[in-house]
Structures are given as structure tokens and as C-alpha cells.
């Protein structure tokens, strides 16, 4: 206690900086834990679509074969796109990101249901 009093009297800024750092540690501990819990939840495995994603990336994230995902993204089979972003596709067909999300969700749901049936 005496030490803290001494520090408060002579090194106040450093002591406040230390207390601030403790608060930052607490903040990042909570955020790290929350991020891990979110990640481990299987319900969050399908990553929400974003304009930076490429068709190949979406296929990987949603675990869909190209011939299932392709039509949902307006892609023809004979033009394999390398690094074409979802934003570009959406712009071209005048669609919002939500529209694209529901198209992909619908395709994924249909394909997954079909997979379950054959099992």
C-alpha cells in the first residue's frame, strides 16, 4: 500500500498507464475468448458473404461443388474465373449482397438436402 502511495505521489502518469494497461489486458482477454467461442460454434461455419470473396473461396467456405455454386453466382461452367470478386459479379447483375447471400443459401440448402437423402 505504501508503495502505491509513493508511486501515486511521484510517478502518477506511469501508475495510471499501468492501470490503463490492465484494463486493456482485460478487454483483449474477453474479446479473444468471445472470438474463440464464436469460431467453435458449428452454426457459424458458413461465413457471411462479402464483396471481396471469390467464387472459389465461397465454394470452399460453404463446402459446395462448383456445379452447385456456379449457377447461384451466374457463372457458366466453361469460364472458370480466377480471382473474380463477388462484388464484381453483384454489380454486373445489379444485385445486392443480400440477394447474393440468399441465392447461395438457397443453393446450399437444396444441395445439402439432396446429400442427406442419398445417405
Amino acid at each position: 500500500m505504501q508503495r502505491i502511495k509513493h508511486l501515486w505521489a511521484h510517478h502518477r502518469i506511469m501508475l495510471l498507464a499501468f492501470i490503463g494497461t490492465l484494463a486493456v489486458i482485460a478487454f483483449f482477454s474477453i474479446k479473444t475468448t468471445a472470438a474463440m467461442i464464436y469460431w467453435m460454434n458449428p452454426a457459424h461455419q458458413d461465413q457471411q458473404l462479402a464483396s471481396w470473396m471469390t467464387p472459389r473461396y465461397i465454394a470452399q467456405s460453404y463446402n459446395l461443388p462448383p456445379d452447385v455454386l456456379g449457377p447461384a453466382l451466374f457463372l457458366e461452367k466453361d469460364m472458370p474465373p480466377m480471382r473474380m470478386s463477388l462484388g464484381m459479379i453483384a454489380d454486373e447483375y445489379d444485385m445486392s449482397m443480400d440477394d447474393m447471400q440468399s441465392r447461395v443459401d438457397a443453393a446450399a440448402a437444396q444441395w445439402r438436402a439432396a446429400q442427406d437423402e442419398t445417405r
Binding site: 498507464a17 479473444t32 472470438a35 461465413q47 471481396w52 473461396y57 467456405s61
Partner: protein, 206 residues
């Protein structure tokens, strides 16, 4: 910012990875970690080549580190004059010099990846204190190999959900840095409070 940077990778490829890792080593606020994860993911899906992703990120980081070092070193004399003009600043400069003499190599190495938020500042301090360039460069190269392999590798492995992995890593890296800063500050404050305590105790005997 993040979305824009990621979209740029999708559109222009590894050039963006190079530019962003370069800028991040100069303390500019660019989302380099997320970008390396995403480009690792793009390499896994076949949108980019793993070797060129690795090469671009690594070259950008090493060039960025050394640019920071040489900029600080070139303006070092002027900064040193400014530091020496005030006794408190001069003491801080001497302390950093002593610290770099003793811990310089490992500071450079770990600040590249484990406590990456401190990386650019360690580069600047290395330059100002005229830390030996060859030592700086070698430790920096080793550190950047770890940094780039770690992030590109994790992106490659956990392609399915890059943003979640990025969230965990970003927060974990903030946590490690805060823990390190907190430990350093705590030890220093502990030391500062000690001698005065002895003096206070011995005073009644005088």
C-alpha cells in the same frame, strides 16, 4: 478499410499483399494480418499461388522493416539532438540504448510476429539508437519468415472462415502485446517504489 483491402487482393492479387505488408512495417494502419490470412486462403482455393503470396508478403515486410530502420537512422542525429536537449528525454534515450545493446536481437525478432503491434516502433528505435544494421536485418528476416508463414499458413489451413480466424488472432495479438507492456511497466514501477521505501524506513533512525 478491411473490405476495400480484401477486395483489392481479389482484383489485383499479390501486388496488394506486398504494398500492405510494406506499409504495415512503417506503422501505417493497414490490415496486414487479415490480408495475409485471406491471401493464404486464396492460395488454398487456387485463386493465387502460395509461393507468390509468401514471396510478396515476405519481401514487403523485410523492405518495410529496413525502410523504417534507415529513415530513423538517417534522421537519427536530429532526433538525438532533440532527445539530448531535455534531461528526462536524454535518460529515456540512454535507457533504450542500453536495452537495445542487451536485448536488441530478440526484440527485433519477436516484434516481427509475436508482438507485431510493436514491430514498427522497434524498427524506428533500432535506427535511432544506431543498432548494428546486419544484426537488425538478420533477426528481422528470421522474424518475418515466422510472421508470414504463420499468417499465410493459418489462412491456407483455415480457409473456410478467414474472418473468424482473423478475429481470434487480432485479439490474441493485442492481448500478448498488452501483457508484455503490463509486465514491463509493472516490474519498472515495482523497482521505482523500492528504494524510497527503504529510505522512508531508515529515516527515523537519523
Amino acid at each position: 478499410m478491411t473490405e476495400i483491402a480484401l477486395a483489392l487482393v481479389a482484383d489485383y492479387g499479390v501486388t496488394i499483399v506486398f504494398v500492405v505488408t510494406f506499409l504495415s512495417c512503417l506503422a501505417l494502419p493497414v490490415p496486414s494480418s487479415l490480408l495475409m490470412l485471406a491471401s493464404g486462403g486464396f492460395a488454398a482455393t487456387g485463386d493465387l499461388y502460395l509461393t507468390s503470396v509468401f514471396g510478396a508478403a515476405f519481401t514487403g515486410a523485410v523492405l518495410g522493416d529496413n525502410t523504417g530502420y534507415w529513415v530513423a537512422r538517417a534522421s537519427g542525429d536530429r532526433i538525438n539532438d532533440w532527445l539530448e536537449r531535455h534531461p528526462k528525454r536524454a535518460a529515456l534515450r540512454r535507457k533504450s540504448q542500453a536495452f537495445m545493446d542487451r536485448w536488441g536481437g530478440s526484440s527485433v525478432f519477436f516484434s516481427c510476429w509475436l508482438v507485431a503491434p510493436l514491430g514498427p516502433y522497434v524498427n524506428y528505435v533500432s535506427g535511432i539508437t544506431k543498432f548494428k544494421w546486419l544484426r537488425f536485418a538478420l533477426w528481422g528476416v528470421l522474424g518475418e519468415i515466422v510472421w508470414v508463414s504463420l499468417y499465410v499458413g493459418l489462412g491456407y489451413i483455415f480457409t473456410d472462415n478467414i474472418t473468424s480466424v482473423a478475429g481470434i488472432l487480432g485479439n490474441a495479438s493485442g492481448l500478448i502485446t498488452a501483457l508484455l507492456v503490463g509486465t514491463g511497466l509493472g516490474l519498472w514501477l515495482w523497482k521505482l517504489s523500492k528504494p524510497r521505501l527503504d529510505k522512508a524506513r531508515s529515516q527515523p533512525h537519523i
